[in-house]
Symmetry: C2
Subunit: 342 residues, 2 copies
C-alpha cells in the first residue's frame, strides 16, 4: 500500500451541464453538483463540469434540444419532461403505477432498461446514465378533501410529467405550472390542487399554508428517476479512463440523491404535520380508477408508438415480476416496522 507519485499530463477539458432544476431545489440541483465534483476530484481538476441552473444556458425544458444541437455537452433532468417528443422518455423516469426506486435501478442495470433506453436515446444524439431518484412521491396538496372519485372530476390540478395523461381520464384538468408559480396558483384558486415532490421539497414551497390536505401516494410517481444525458459525440471523444470516471461519477450521484431524499423527508414530514398539514391516503376508489385508466393509456400507446411498445413490453414484464417479490420479504418487513413504536 505505498503511495503512487501521480503526474497527470492531460489536456484540460471543460463540459457544461444544464440542469432542468433551479439552484433552490438543492436535492436535485445538488445531484449535478455531486457529479461535477466527482469528475473534478477523480481527474485532479483536469476535467471539469460547470453546472448551470435551469434557464442559465437553456430553458429547463430545452436541454434535450441543446444536447441534440451540440450546444451543451450534458444535462441533468427528469426525462418525462420530454414525453411530448416521445412518450418513451417517461420510461427512463416515471410512469403512473410504474416501478419503485430500487426496481427502476435494477431494471436499468440488471434488466434491459439501460440497453433499451440507450437505443432510444441514440436517436437524439444522447447517451444516458441514471443519476438520482426521489423515491415514492406524495400525492399533493388539495384545497378540499378527496373522499371519492367524484371529487376528482373537474379538479384543476398542477401535475408534472406524464401523469396528467392518466389524470385527465378521470375527468380532472391537469395543468403544467413551473415550481415558482405553484404557491400563488393554489392560493388564488387558479388550481384546486398541486403536487410537487415530497415533504422536503414541498415544505420549501410552503404549499401547506394554502392547501392543508396532503394526500398519498402519488400513483403517478411511485419513483422518479433522474438522468444525466450526454451528447454522444462528446462522450465518445473521451478516453476510456474519462468515460469510466463519468459513469462512476453518475453512479455516486445516483446513490447520494436518493439518500438526500430518504434522509431529509422524514423530519420535513414531521414539520409539515406540526404546521397543520392533514395527512390522508387517497381513496381506494380513486387509486383503482387511475390504475384502470393507466392501463388504457398504455394500450393506446402500444398501438401508436413503436418505441413505447418495444420498451414498455420489457419494462412491464420486469415490473410484474418485481412486485410479486416486493410484497414478500421487503413489503412484510417494512409494514411490520412502520407499525412499531420505535
Amino acid at each position: 500500500g505505498s503511495a503512487p507519485a501521480i503526474i497527470h499530463a492531460q489536456q484540460n477539458l471543460r463540459w457544461r451541464l444544464a440542469s432542468s432544476f433551479p439552484k433552490s431545489l438543492e436535492t436535485l440541483f445538488g445531484g449535478a453538483e455531486t457529479f461535477a465534483k466527482n469528475v473534478t476530484e477523480a481527474t485532479g481538476g483536469k476535467f471539469t463540469v460547470s453546472v448551470h441552473a435551469a434557464g442559465e444556458l437553456v430553458p429547463a425544458f430545452g436541454v434535450v434540444d441543446a444536447i441534440q444541437q451540440d450546444t451543451i455537452e450534458c444535462a441533468h433532468t427528469a426525462p418525462y419532461y420530454f414525453f411530448g417528443k416521445d412518450e418513451a422518455f417517461a420510461l427512463d423516469c416515471a410512469i403512473p403505477f410504474g416501478m419503485n426506486s430500487r426496481q427502476q435501478t435494477a431494471w436499468m442495470y440488471e434488466g434491459n432498461g439501460l440497453k433499451l433506453m440507450r437505443e432510444f436515446y441514440a436517436n437524439y444524439n444522447i447517451i444516458n446514465f441514471p443519476m438520482g431518484n426521489s423515491g415514492a412521491q406524495m400525492g399533493g396538496w388539495y384545497r378540499k378533501e378527496i373522499k371519492s372519485l367524484a371529487d376528482v372530476n373537474g379538479l384543476k390540478m398542477r401535475i408534472g410529467g406524464f401523469g396528467g395523461r392518466v389524470l385527465a381520464k378521470l375527468g380532472a384538468v391537469p395543468q403544467n405550472i413551473p415550481a415558482a408559480e405553484i404557491y400563488q396558483s393554489l392560493e388564488k384558486g387558479t388550481v384546486d390542487a398541486a403536487e410537487w415532490i415530497g415533504p422536503y421539497d414541498d415544505l420549501k414551497l410552503g404549499l401547506h399554508k394554502v392547501a392543508k390536505n396532503y394526500y398519498y401516494p402519488a400513483w403517478w410517481e411511485g419513483s422518479t428517476q433522474f438522468s444525466v444525458l450526454i451528447n454522444t459525440k462528446a462522450f465518445n471523444g473521451l478516453s476510456n479512463e474519462y468515460k469510466s470516471i463519468v459513469r462512476q461519477a453518475a453512479s455516486d450521484a445516483h446513490v447520494k440523491v436518493q439518500a438526500t431524499y430518504d434522509g431529509r423527508n422524514p423530519t420535513a414530514l414531521k414539520q409539515l404535520i406540526a404546521e397543520g398539514a392533514k395527512l390522508s391516503r387517497l381513496p381506494k376508489e380513486v387509486m383503482d380508477a387511475a390504475f384502470k385508466a393507466s392501463r388504457e393509456v398504455y394500450a393506446e400507446l402500444n398501438d401508436k408508438n413503436p418505441n413505447w411498445k418495444k420498451i414498455y413490453a420489457d419494462y412491464s414484464r420486469f415490473e410484474a415480476d418485481a412486485y410479486q417479490w416486493e410484497g414478500i420479504a421487503e413489503g412484510s418487513y417494512d409494514q411490520y416496522m412502520s407499525a412499531q413504536k420505535l
Copy 2:
C-alpha cells in the same frame, strides 16, 4: 466536447482485496469484482485491485485482522461477522429490526452513519465505504411449519451474524454453519432450520429440496449492508485523485449489488415455488416476541458497550423517523402495487 489526449505518468499500484465470500456467490463476490474493474478502468490500468475469494489469502472471518496487521490493503465483507470483537460492527451491516436498504444508505450518507462508523473503524486501522446491500432477506427454510412461538422453542437453526443473539432469547439454538455445509446439516436434521440470504442465493444451495417451508421476512436482516474495508495507511497513501476513484468505485458497486439482488430474486422466487417451496409469513406472535427480545438485547448492550451505545443512539433515532415516513408514500404505493395483477 473535444477529446483530451491523456497520458498517465503514474507509478503502478496493486492492492489485494480479500472477499469474505466464495466465488460461487456471484451476487456478493461480484460486488468486489465490480469495484476492482472500476478502479482499473478509471486509472487506465495503473491502479489495480486483485480480488481473492474467501480462504485464498485469509479465512472469510480473518479479513479484519489481516487489514489491521497490514497483510492486505482491503476486504469486502459483511461487517456483522465481527460482532464478537465489538457489537458495533453490526451497525454497519444488519441488526434485528434494523433499517431497510435505502434507510441504511441514507443514514450513512445523509445522516451520521458514515462519520460514526469511521470513528469506530479507526480503532482497527480501517476506513470503510458501503459497497452493496441485499435488501430484506428471507426468514429461511424450516423442516416443520412454524405456527406459533412455541414452535421456535428448542429450534436448532443455522443463522448468520448478529441475529442469533436475539433468536436465542426465544429459546432457539442458533448455529453458525458455513454456506457449503448448510444443505447437508438440514438434510441430516443436524439443524431444524437454516436461513441464508434470499431466493437467488438460496436456490443455488438447493435448500428447498430438504426443507420446503420458506418463511418471511428475516426480522434479523431487514437489509444487510456490505462494506469495503480499507487499511487506513494504504488509503491515506493515495493521491487525492485515487482516493476519489476508490470512493466512487465503491459507490458504483453499491448500486450494482443491490440491483443484482433486485433483478434476480423475482425469477428465482418463482422457480423455488415451482419446485415445491411453500411460502409463509412468520406468525405475528413470533415477530412480536423477537422485536421485544431485540429491544432487551439493545438495552443490555447500551449498558455494556460504549461504542454500541454512542452509535446506536444515532442509528435508532434515524430509524424511528425513517419508518414513520416509510409507511406513508413508499409503503402505501408498494402495498397497492403488490396487490395488483400486473
